[in-house]
């Protein structure tokens, strides 16, 4: 039976806890867990739930559609949280509310970040999320309780970070997804003696859907190696480490700083922090090429393609994704890209 560390120093069976689903990396799992609920960050699976939301497909981001369909088909969820980091996801919150009975919370994550006001707005949105969770019979956590949950998460995230390089990139991506899904970091069955080889690549872009995880193996089979997972489902969106020495003072402020103050993303205005993060990480990991992954109709990442080509000291391959598995043409492009870089 999986158990979950919650506020007030105890553990509870996930099965009896209310589950809050979400997909945005700016929603802190710790905050939901501290309210005595199970945070579950979904990786949508377009192949599983296809037709809850119907209507014209033109212009609809396949990720937003798949997420909405997953949520509407979800039987174990008690609430859903969406954010404003993407206009289509913001608007998907309305579609979900109209198509299923789940309580929906739309959290405004500011696009701006260089002002005190933006940070305060993010904090106030966390507090509002807290009130929403309390209305769902969650428990408002005392600062000590939140700090405890953060310590627990921090420790497990540390384990997760430590696994990078010791398992294959695909396996690492799965571990991250699993951690987001149920909070566990299970390294027991991880690949043993894994040795990285091949052309070091960065995978950068929006979130992956379940059927897109095959991308890592595809790159590997082509002779490449994803040494930097900069997708929204990857390591880029992990919050900053908590300073455990100061955690007791103002844990919610630290939580907000670790997420809003640290996660680089394309939606931010300006989004210079994304490029600074990439520069640091690419240099450290000797990246020789970038695969920029974006969903069809995702304007935010689409607009970064040419800019990244102008900026990057290495070649950039832009790959469009939709609700289908990676097709032969895309696979061929990736294989050719890696071959050229070898």
């Amino acid at each position: 039976m999986r158990r979950w560390a919650v506020a007030h120093g105890g553990e509870r069976d996930i099965a009896v806890m209310k589950t809050v689903v979400y997909s945005c990396p700016f929603v802190p799992a710790e905050w939901i867990a501290a309210h005595g609920m199970h945070p579950r960050r979904i990786v949508p699976d377009a192949a599983q739930n296809g037709a809850t939301l119907t209507g014209p497909a033109i212009g609809i981001c396949p990720y937003a559609r798949a997420f909405a369909n997953d949520v509407c088909a979800e039987t174990a969820a008690d609430a859903v949280v969406l954010t404003t980091v993407c206009d289509q996801m913001r608007r998907a919150s309305e579609l979900i509310a109209r198509n299923c009975d789940l309580p929906v919370f739309l959290m405004h994550v500011p696009s701006t970040w260089q002002t005190v006001g933006a940070h305060e707005l993010y904090m106030s949105e966390l507090e509002r999320l807290g009130r929403f969770l309390v209305r769902l019979e969650g428990r408002a956590p005392a600062p000590d309780d939140l700090a405890e949950v953060m310590r627990d998460y921090g420790a497990r995230r540390w384990d997760l970070r430590s696994a990078r390089g010791t398992v294959s990139p695909g396996r690492y991506a799965e571990l991250i997804a699993r951690f987001h899904q149920d909070g566990t970091v299970d390294l027991a069955d991880s690949d043993s003696g894994y040795l990285a080889s091949g052309v070091p690549l960065a995978l950068v872009g929006g979130p992956l859907m379940r059927h897109h995880f095959a991308l890592f193996d595809l790159v590997e089979s082509a002779g490449g190696h994803v040494v930097l997972d900069g997708t929204s489902t990857g390591e880029r969106t992990m919050p900053a480490r908590f300073d455990t020495r100061q955690l007791a003072d103002a844990p919610l402020v630290m939580l907000a700083d670790a997420y809003f103050g640290a996660i680089p993303d394309a939606f931010r205005r300006p989004n210079s922090d994304l490029y600074e993060w990439l520069k640091t990480e690419m240099t450290e990991r000797a990246v020789r090429g970038i695969i920029l992954w974006r969903h069809v109709w995702c304007d935010t990442w689409h607009a970064e393609v040419e800019r990244m080509r102008e900026w990057a000291p290495v070649p950039v391959l832009a790959v469009d994704a939709d609700e289908q598995p990676i097709d032969r043409q895309t696979a061929s492009r990736i294989q050719s890209f890696v071959e050229v870089l070898r």
């Binding site: 209507g55 033109i58 300006p270 393609v305």
Partner: protein, 460 residues
């Protein structure tokens, strides 16, 4: 001098202009025959149909000479502010300072239409990786890079947050090319929670006081940026005067809309009404002249209404139109199919609602910014549309999708569902590209089907 109201071609305007001039028509300094704009590259004008009044001629000339006004303002030592996305709030602030002129570079989205793609702006956007999957506002990038359509502003201000991703992404691309932008945050408008203080916004939406307070703080940053570029203070007194002046424009537009949308016979075509409404967002770079242009239009419309005269058949089907069209020709098309516009929501109804004058000015402006239909749920927008459909007795709803726009992917479904469920009026969703010639027969067929449906329903 007005004669019999009619919709006429550009060639007919040539003759009409000669007649009017011979009859002693007085024009402002930017006046002249419409034909000269074609010679300047606005090729689309040849295919449009126009209202034949001198008031409409003045409106068109005012619109099509904005670039000259901006250059002239710079020559006169004024600072130019490019204000992006918020559609109506920041210009009210900017025009409160006498040495600032504000305009929306977003307006470049109509250049591909007006110049029938001859300016190459979309090609420039393509070359920057902003292809046709984005909203036609991507033409703005080309306008900046070519520098051929407006002077590069001294200050760029852009609202982000609860905005469409297209514009935010395009503005970021512009920023990445070396154009500094002052970003300000507009949060997603939401309903107040039970324990939160609620505030009524212009137009009838509500929001929590905390959101109004936050937006006010963001607008304070905007105020500071404006003061810096202007080199002078923008105090509350000046802002209040600016709000009063903006309201003079808004009251005129509200009255114009009421007269035109409720008249038994349509007194002014949809195309001229669209352009008149557009004046609200930044006054076409001259606030006082905007008022004069609107006064002329109002006088013309009042006269026609009193005479029970108009430009369309009395039987024209009353259509509520949602979203501006990338190709102005679409407004003509509706009328050619037997429709008339009776109610519109072109993304900026908050720029037509009066700004409260009994509140501290920054509070009032924050409320106005939050009243933007695009920062709230589509259901809110649908409620407002529904209210106006009843007010203007519209018989059908056309939702005009903007190609590639992120909000258009789903909002049409929600707006359409809500309106259908309330009144059961027919709803048509169409998409209008910057030049719709290749799709005209399809658009015509779809609009005709809508019109025929309404006519059949009238017989029941």
């Amino acid at each position: 001098m007005s004669g019999v109201p009619a919709r006429i071609t550009l060639a007919e305007w040539d003759e009409r202009y000669t007649e009017l001039s011979a009859g002693g028509m007085e024009e402002p300094t930017y006046g002249g025959p419409l034909r000269r704009h074609v010679e300047d590259g606005d090729l689309r004008l040849v295919t449009l149909r126009y209202d034949n009044s001198p008031a409409s001629l003045r409106l068109w000339n005012f619109l099509l000479t904005e670039e000259d006004r901006l250059h002239q303002a710079r020559t006169l030592g004024k600072k130019i502010v490019g204000t992006m996305k918020d559609l109506g709030t920041v210009p009210v602030m900017a025009y409160s300072l006498a040495n600032l002129v504000a305009f929306y570079p977003d307006g470049a989205w109509w250049i591909p239409c007006l110049m029938e793609l001859s300016a190459g702006l979309l090609g420039v956007a393509d070359s920057l990786g902003i292809d046709e999957s984005f909203c036609p506002v991507r033409a703005m990038l080309g306008a900046f890079l070519t520098g051929a359509h407006f002077p590069i502003p001294d200050l760029l201000i852009c609202s982000v947050g609860a905005t469409c991703d297209d514009f935010s992404a395009i503005a970021q691309r512009l920023n990445g090319l070396g154009y500094p932008i002052m970003w300000w945050e507009i949060p997603a408008r939401r309903q107040p929670e039970p324990d939160e203080e609620a505030v009524e916004l212009p137009g009838g939406f509500t929001a929590p006081q905390s959101q109004v307070t936050f937006v006010q703080s963001e607008l304070e940053r905007v105020r500071h940026a404006l003061e810096t570029v202007a080199g002078r203070r923008l105090d509350d007194r000046a802002l209040s005067a600016g709000i009063k002046a903006a309201n003079r424009v808004r009251r005129r537009l509200t009255e114009l809309r009421r007269l035109v949308f409720t008249a038994e016979t349509c007194p002014l075509p949809a195309l001229e009404m669209l352009i008149a409404e557009m004046l609200a967002i930044h006054f076409c770079s001259d606030r006082e002249e905007t008022i004069a242009v609107l006064d002329d239009l109002l006088a013309e419309v009042r006269s026609r209404v009193e005479r029970h005269d108009g430009v369309l058949s009395k039987d024209a089907v009353r259509v509520f139109w949602v979203n501006p069209v990338a190709d102005l020709r679409a407004m003509n098309l509706l009328e050619e199919c037997g429709g008339r516009v009776c109610g519109s929501e072109y993304l900026f109804c908050h720029a037509i609602d009066e700004i409260p004058e009994d509140l501290p000015p920054m509070d009032a402006l924050a409320r106005m910014a939050l009243a933007d239909p695009m920062v709230g749920p589509a259901a809110d927008r649908a409620e407002r549309i529904w209210y106006d459909i009843r007010r203007f007795r519209a018989e059908a709803l056309v939702i005009s999708r903007i190609p590639g726009a992120s909000h258009c992917a789903t909002e049409g479904m929600i707006i359409g569902d809500i309106v259908r469920s309330r009144r059961g009026i027919p709803v048509l969703e169409i998409e209008v590209p910057p030049v719709c010639d290749s799709m005209e027969s399809t658009l015509r067929t779809r609009i005709e089907a809508l019109i025929e449906t309404v006519i059949e329903r009238r017989k029941r």
